[in-house]
Amino acid sequence: MRLAHLWNQATCIGCGACIAACNAANYKSTDRPNPTWRGLQTNIKRIVFDRELKPHTLLVQCQHCENAPCVAVCPTGASYIDRDGLVKIKPELCIGCKYCMTACPYGMRWLDPVTGLPNKCMGEECQDRIKHGLQPVCVTVCPAGARAFGDLDDPNSEVNRRLRGARVIRLLEHKGTRPKYFVVVGR
């Protein structure tokens, strides 16, 4: 099983529902600022390329890499790739050394101000949701249908359905991370 996220840049209206919903579901709507990224405690980061000729947005989150640098550098085995293909953290093994935060080329881990431990996608509530057959909250709330989540090993999964016939990029592929976050840029 290789669970993966897909985000369609070509249809995203940039409403931020996924970003705010991640905060609500996984971080109990906390308004405590995110000490790493500033702003909000959420697992999705919005980057706007304002100076491009055609400005565009990129929503970035944990890529659930198949060759995950965060897992490779973890000295305790707290960061690991689960059988479902998702990169997860065992908090009881985490010593808060932040190696993973430094190693992630996407900068997609942030420090929880209460526990002092790194946070990332998927949050606890989203993990529980998929365990119960629900979609991650960012996928559920998207009004534009710009998000999908599913198993790359299942040819009938929504992610695979959407990957067919779409122009897709993956981020920083040259880093050799084998990311499982697919950005649809057009048809």
Partner: protein, 809 residues
């Protein structure tokens, strides 16, 4: 041991301890959630903005969050709904009634109890009413309690419930009235589901998320979206074309498109003949030729029938001429179509380019693409931008009509009404209420329509009456869940008026700036804390929804239902009138008040049941389980049925405009503010994305997503030696107002134009503290404006022009 992260985290007590009050049965079409043990879902109408999207408040694993109600005819959601819990337990939520202890504007208060607050307000109102009459009391509001407001105001005896509308949609509402005989923005919208080509003029899908859901199908079918806007909104960064236009010139662009479509004969001739009044013959004085003019029986408008070779009533013509001119009844007449063509000919693309800054070739290409695709142009919602916007939206509706895109698949739909009864009606002989009450008629006229006769809800007219005492004095203002400082134009006038009033009451959730100017500030419920039966807007279908009460206010927040607050003020002011509409002292007990609400709900459901011939129980069950009920589904047609215009047709030549002595055809007029001419002078435009509303902007999620900087084009920045992040000072060219902000250098704004988000920054309330002081960063663009209002509909210009100066790095 399998320890989860949740066990590790210190739980925030408030969210976890909160109880969801009402637990309707789990919807059966959600088999997935059935597996998710312990999940509770409450159907709610989101009220983080006025769109009222259908959502669920979900409680799973002790965590509360919002999910879209996907079966709902207008499903959510955006970041605002997702941030709803942050509003609910907001640290700056108004917790107790406050009474002013300093001067107005100082923001100094003491906490008082509800009983004292309500009694003191009522005592003051009694004094005002006895001296100046009940019409001297004005309620101003946005969407919260909008349905209840006539009931509240009319019971007090004032006709003056004055919404935010002039600073939102009066321009496009006027256009819809003139051309379609339609009403406010939800009455007409694009059929996004089937749209092939959509042009959005200054619009960004910022509110009703159901529209975005419906657009999904069209996206799959390859719809093209075109955004005509001086700045590039968030949605425009996805697939689509952005047409950066000079502010205040939309009408010129649209009329040039029209010129291309008319001269190249790209319009749908059959549709235009059948569904519009293009064939009407217009006399030299601008009025239409009638049977009466020809000395015939009847008073029908007349067309020239090419088969009959004679003048015939438009209702009977077989082959009416679209382009005809000649003698009739001793005068020269021409078809409305020829007059429209002549009008559009004033705006050939090359001339329009000089006005709007869009290359002539782009105008031509978009006109052809639009016509060939039988596209649709969005009909306008927030259109109070340049005090010339009603002409732009008249051009929009005319263009839709020309290509056959009204009441057709992929064109504009005309919404099916839900027949939701009003809360109260003021007839010339009496006032009647939903509760079965009757009151003597209200003789005073609305203060706004005395000055702006075409469209009501012009708050600027209230300010004039406060300051001038004409046409009659206004002495008390009750501001309900809205924020004049970030809503209305002309801040200086607003401040003067707030100083001059005898009584100012603010009913709100968080300290919006006008709280500082209030004598009393009363804490209101948020939508999750109260029930509401409402029309489903922003869907073509006829439907109602019921927002369940999902939560009590968090501990320490003694907020009350605003309807109760206002009815208690009214009852304590005019007890006999309150009694006459069924509101007695019994309901002063907050818990008994629920009975009153239930009674009103029952009356509404009985009325709906009768109107649609559906049993009350059936409606109630659906509202209980799913939160909505659809009475009738809209389907595309070949064109509109009889419209409530003077002719019953789509009036591309507006006869209603003639009644107002307005031009029957659209034109471009320059905006009222001083045009920027020097190198350091700029347009200051403001706008929205899914972040901007009176309450949502307060949540940390939205405060973190929104940008409070002033956007500036890289070429302008380079020219002026300004860099990203620099501190600049802006000075209004027309009012000299100065304010400072940081700069964002971005290609998302046209050269010569600055952009800021509306409502996002430049706040000043003294009640804003801690991390939320970020709301004071940036500028409030409204403060650079004057009372530039369109004469008939009162639509102001919230855009302005400024001089810029770098003051720091």
């Amino acid at each position: 041991m399998d320890l989860t992260r949740r066990d590790f985290l210190a739980l925030t007590a408030t969210a976890a301890a909160a109880s969801i009050l009402k637990l309707p049965p789990k919807p059966q079409q959600e088999p997935q959630s059935a597996q998710a043990g312990g999940e509770e879902r409450v159907p709610v109408m989101c009220n983080m903005c006025g769109a009222g999207c259908g959502v669920y408040l979900v409680k799973r694993n002790g965590i509360m969050y919002v999910e879209p109600n996907l079966e709902h005819p207008q499903p959510g959601l955006c970041a605002r709904a997702a941030a709803a819990i942050q509003l609910w337990n907001h640290p700056l939520r108004l917790r107790k009634p406050l009474k002013r202890v300093g001067d107005r504007g100082e923001g100094k208060f003491q906490e008082i109890d509800w009983e004292t607050a309500l009694n003191e307000i009522a005592a003051k109102l009694r004094e005002v009413v006895s001296k100046y009459g009940p019409e001297s009391v004005v309620f101003t509001y946005h969407d919260f309690y909008a349905w209840h407001m006539p009931f509240i105001a009319f019971t007090l005896g004032t006709p003056n419930h004055v919404q935010h509308a002039s600073c939102c949609h009066n321009a496009s509402t006027y256009a819809r009235m003139l051309i379609l005989g339609a009403g406010g923005p939800p009455t007409v919208d694009p059929d996004y589901e089937r749209a092939r080509y959509v042009i959005l003029v200054g619009r960004v899908f910022n509110a009703a998320m159901g529209m975005v859901h419906r657009l999904k199908k069209a996206r799959e079918a390859g719809v093209k979206l075109v955004y005509v806007d001086p700045r590039m909104g968030n949605a425009a960064m996805a697939e689509g074309e952005w047409v950066p236009i000079i502010p205040g010139t939309d009408a010129a662009f649209l009329l040039a498109m029209m010129h291309v479509i008319l001269t190249e004969k790209l319009y749908d001739e059959d549709y235009v003949k059948k569904f519009t009044n293009a064939c009407f013959l217009i006399k030299p004085d601008g009025t239409p030729l009638t049977e009466k003019d020809l000395g015939r029986e009847g008073a029908d408008y007349v067309v020239y029938d090419l088969d009959a070779k004679d003048f015939v009533s438009y209702k009977k013509a077989k082959n009416p001429a679209l382009e005809w001119e000649g003698e009739a009844a001793g005068v020269k007449v021409r078809t409305a179509f020829l007059l429209l063509k002549e009008r559009a000919a004033r705006y050939p693309p090359e001339e329009a380019e000089k006005i709007c800054g869009v290359p002539a070739e782009t105008i031509r290409r978009i006109a052809r693409e639009f016509a060939n695709a039988r596209g649709v142009i969005e009909d306008g919602w927030w259109t109070s931008k340049n005090a010339n916007d009603s002409d732009a939206f008249r051009a929009v509706l005319t263009l839709n009509a020309l290509v056959g895109s009204i009441e057709t698949a992929g064109g504009l739909y005309i919404k099916l009404g839900s027949k939701m009864p009003g809360s109260a009606t003021a007839a010339p002989d009496k006032v009647t209420t939903i509760t079965g009450g009757t009151l003597p008629p209200i003789t005073a006229k609305r203060i706004d329509t005395l000055k702006y006769p075409a469209v009501p809800h012009v708050f600027d007219a209230v300010l004039d009456a406060v300051l001038e005492g004409k046409p009659y004095p206004v002495k008390a203002l009750i501001i309900v869940g809205t924020e004049p400082f970030t809503r209305d134009a002309n801040t200086e006038k607003l401040k003067k008026a707030l100083k001059a009033l005898d009584l100012v009451v603010v009913i709100d959730v968080v300290p919006n700036d006008s709280a500082d100017w209030a004598d009393y500030v009363l804490p209101d419920n948020i939508f999750l804390e109260r029930e509401e039966l409402a029309d489903v807007k922003w869907t073509p279908h006829a439907a109602i929804q019921f927002s369940h009460k999902a939560l009590d206010p968090p501990p320490g927040v003694d907020a009350r239902n605003g309807f109760w607050i206002m009815m208690e003020i009214v009852r304590r002011t005019v007890p006999d009138r309150a009694k006459a509409v069924g509101y007695t002292e019994e309901y002063a007990d907050y818990h008994r008040f629920e009975k009153f609400e239930e009674f009103i709900k029952k009356k509404c459901l009985e009325s709906l049941s009768k109107s649609w011939n559906v049993p009350v129980e059936q409606i109630e069950r659906a509202l209980e389980e799913k939160g909505f009920f659809v009475f009738q589904y809209w389907t595309p047609k070949k064109g509109p049925g009889a419209r409530p215009t003077k002719s019953g047709l789509v009036e591309i030549y507006s006869l209603r405009a003639l009644d107002f002595k307005d031009d029957p055809l659209p034109k471009w007029k320059p905006p009222p503010y001083t045009k920027p001419t020097r190198p350091d002078e700029f347009y200051l435009v403001n706008g929205r994305d899914q972040f901007v509303t009176v309450h949502a902007i307060w949540t940390w999620s939205i405060a973190s997503l929104v940008d409070r900087r002033v956007w500036m084009n890289p070429k302008d920045a380079e020219r002026l030696g300004i860099r990203d992040g620099d501190l600049i000072e802006l000075e209004g060219l027309d009012n000299g107002f100065k304010a400072r902000a940081r700069v964002k250098v971005t290609n998302r704004v046209r050269e010569g134009v600055f952009f800021v988000y509306n409502r996002a920054g430049g706040r000043f309330s003294k009640l804003i503290t801690g991390q939320y002081e970020v709301l004071k960063e940036g500028i409030n663009p409204n403060m650079f404006t004057l009372s530039w209002l369109e004469p008939l509909n009162g639509s102001p210009s919230l855009n302005s022009t400024v001089r810029v100066r770098k003051v720091g790095a």
